[in-house]
Amino acid sequence: MSTSRKKSAAVKKTPAPRPASKPAAPKVPAQAVPVQAIGLEEIKSLIALVGREPFQEFEFEAGDMRFRIRKDGPAPVIQAPVAAPIVVAAPAPQVHPMPSAPPAAAQAVAAPADEPGIHYVTSPIVGTFYRASNPTATPFASPGDFVKPGQTLCIIEAMKLMNEIESDVAGEVVKVLVENGTPVEYGERLFAVRIG
């Protein structure tokens, strides 16, 4: 069997943002924008900006002006700045209902918004999550601990093998996101680490 390995799986970077199953419409609050200042040039620069950003939808409203951008469909296989489908919704609930989108996925989208400066260590494999090397040992990492890249954060057991999962950043562990002894899937967030 080719399954013998010890921490062969490198801790992956945070996977691409989960594609929204229902186009979520991040609304830019109007009050944050100095209304009078918006003219054609400003609009153009916004459009260019939105094009570069990995948004699904962009909506803007100020006074009696309002605009909306929607990116959609099979992501431009080539040089698209973002691989994920992109949608931009209008004042109206322009939600194209995703007919058979799994409700589970829809819920998952509701994951906490990423705080700036927080990095999530995710699981590179499917298996059972353990915080320590054995039931009586001290956890590898707990909130408040400072960790370095390459430092073991936890163990994930799969096919009777214990895989040590290492941190890919330096920083302070803010939260352990999975209960000890529970199953995790690929890409699941394990630890929140404040970089620094």
Binding site: P85, A101, M159
Partner: protein, 475 residues
């Protein structure tokens, strides 16, 4: 990203029969994953879907009881990633794994890993898969079992005299081919002993001129060969039965496009002979679970073993429709150690079924057409079965194969099945991507298809015809 979901069961579980397994993991995606889930649901078996990040919103994920993300989009990192699949079975407590077709379904190593981990693989043993996966070994086994193989010379034929002997052994017509050859040069079809010496020499001369090498070999030449395959089902008690044949001659570059059952050209006697041969072949390797023996059938009624597929086939629905036997449910039963639920005499072919594979491709150029489905309507009504995992707004990822749906038409006879397939294609709506549906629609109107006069080479000539008449004007 969410944790592994254990959804509430859809409704009060009250299976009528005892389920063969409590929980099965489906190591596949798309329509076949959904197909297996449906079978499990009918039997009261809990299901675990695994999926890559590209398939998060797929229907097989939605309709499974549990779901585990096993990796990123590329198959090698998800659906072909054995440790991930096994770990998913372990953490969810699945007792068995159904591999579908493709991916890990004919991977003997995977079967061994399942065994080592105490998980039932729904399919035959690793040994059988190995044996039938190795061409030379498979042929040797079939030869021993008295299954006809494509006859040919044992390597290079050195002289006219040797050529005459070989031709006599394998039977005319034969084809003389340049060993270094290709593109038809150094190739001659020989119909009888009289014309052999001249043609043999011409072939050698031509081969010499074309490739600088005049060595040639010989093979039986098949007149308009048809692809005929036999569905086999076996259990762990040595019972093997066939479920009749499928005709899969409409193919392009060895990719089947249209399959039907029964074949329009088999006589009852020939059908009996082919099916009996298939059972003998399967028994020779101690086969169990679902499998398919593929033959090439000559115009004269001679047939020759090509290969055995040791898994459920894409085109299994046509057999299900004419026999009323649910092949996937039977796979689950025999994998759990149950005896086959039917005997050979219970298998009766009734009516006629045709399957069209609808691919996300340009219908005439066959370039892939991934993308988002913006409008979707599948045909319904009498005699139509649709196997698909598509839904409106679904995005077809570019990472996997391009089949989006299987349309299957059943009728009291072949004429009715064709008429139903036509109207099913006419009432199929898939917008946002290109599909091969228009190609199928034209084939359904073609006199050759209607009369059953086609071979595995038919698509080539049809593609030429299309080039001449791309608009589909009435012939």
């Amino acid at each position: 990203m969410g944790a592994i979901k254990r959804k509430a069961p859809a409704a009060v579980a009250a299976p009528i029969d005892t389920p063969p397994f409590k929980k099965v993991l489906i190591a596949n995606r798309g329509e076949i994953a959904l197909r297996v889930i449906l079978a499990c649901k009918e039997m009261g078996i809990q299901t675990v879907a695994v999926y890559s990040e590209a398939d998060r919103n797929a229907l097989h994920v939605r309709f499974a009881d549990e779901e585990v993300c096993i990796g990123p989009a590329p198959s090698s990192k998800s659906y072909l990633n054995i440790p991930q699949v096994i770990a998913a079975a372990e953490v969810t407590g699945a007792e068995a794994i159904h591999p579908g077709y493709g991916f890990l379904s004919e991977n003997a190593h995977f079967v061994e890993v399942c065994l080592a981990c105490g998980i039932t693989f729904i399919g035959p043993s690793a040994e059988i898969i190995r044996k039938m996966g190795n061409k030379a070994q498979a042929k040797a086994t079939m030869l021993e079992a008295g299954v006809p193989l494509m006859p040919g010379s044992d390597g290079i034929v050195e002289t006219v005299e040797e050529a005459l002997v070989v031709a006599e052994q394998i039977g005319y017509p034969v084809i003389v081919k340049a060993s270094a050859g290709g593109g038809g040069r150094g190739m001659r079809i020989v119909n009888n002993a009289e014309e052999l010496p001249d043609l043999y020499n011409t072939a050698r001369t031509e081969a010499k001129g074309a490739f600088g090498d005049d060595s040639v070999y010989m093979e039986k030449y098949l007149l308009e060969p048809r692809h005929i395959e036999v569905q086999i089902m076996g259990d762990l008690f040595g019972n093997v039965v066939h479920l009749g044949e499928r005709e899969c001659s409409i193919q392009r570059r060895h990719q089947k496009l249209i399959e039907e059952s029964p074949s329009a050209v088999l006589t009852p006697e020939l059908r009996q002979r082919i099916c009996d041969t298939a059972v003998r072949a399967a028994k020779a390797v101690g086969y169990y679970n679902a499998g398919t023996i593929e033959f090439l059938l000559d115009k004269r009624g001679d047939f020759f073993f090509m290969e055995m597929n040791t898994r459920v086939q894409v085109e299994h629905p046509v057999t299900e429709l004419v026999t009323s036997i649910d092949i996937v449910k039977e796979q689950l039963r025999v994998a759990a150690g149950q005896k086959l639920s039917f005997r050979q005499e219970d298998v009766v072919q009734k009516g006629h079924a045709i399957e069209c594979r609808i691919n996300a491709e340009d219908p005439f150029k066959f370039t892939p057409s991934p993308g988002r489905i913006t409008a979707l309507h599948f045909p319904g009504g009498p005699g139509i079965r649709v196997d698909t995992a598509m839904h409106q707004d679904a995005v077809i990822p570019p990472h996997y194969d391009s089949m989006v749906a299987k349309l299957i038409a059943y009728g009291a006879n072949r004429t009715e099945a064709i008429a139903r397939m036509r109207r099913a294609l006419d009432t199929l709506v898939i917008e946002g991507i290109k599909t091969t549906a228009p190609l199928h629609r034209r084939i359904m109107d073609h006199p050759d298809f209607i009369s059953g006069a086609f071979s595995t080479k038919w698509m080539e000539t049809f593609m030429e015809e299309l080039k001449r008449n791309p608009a589909g004007d009435p012939r």
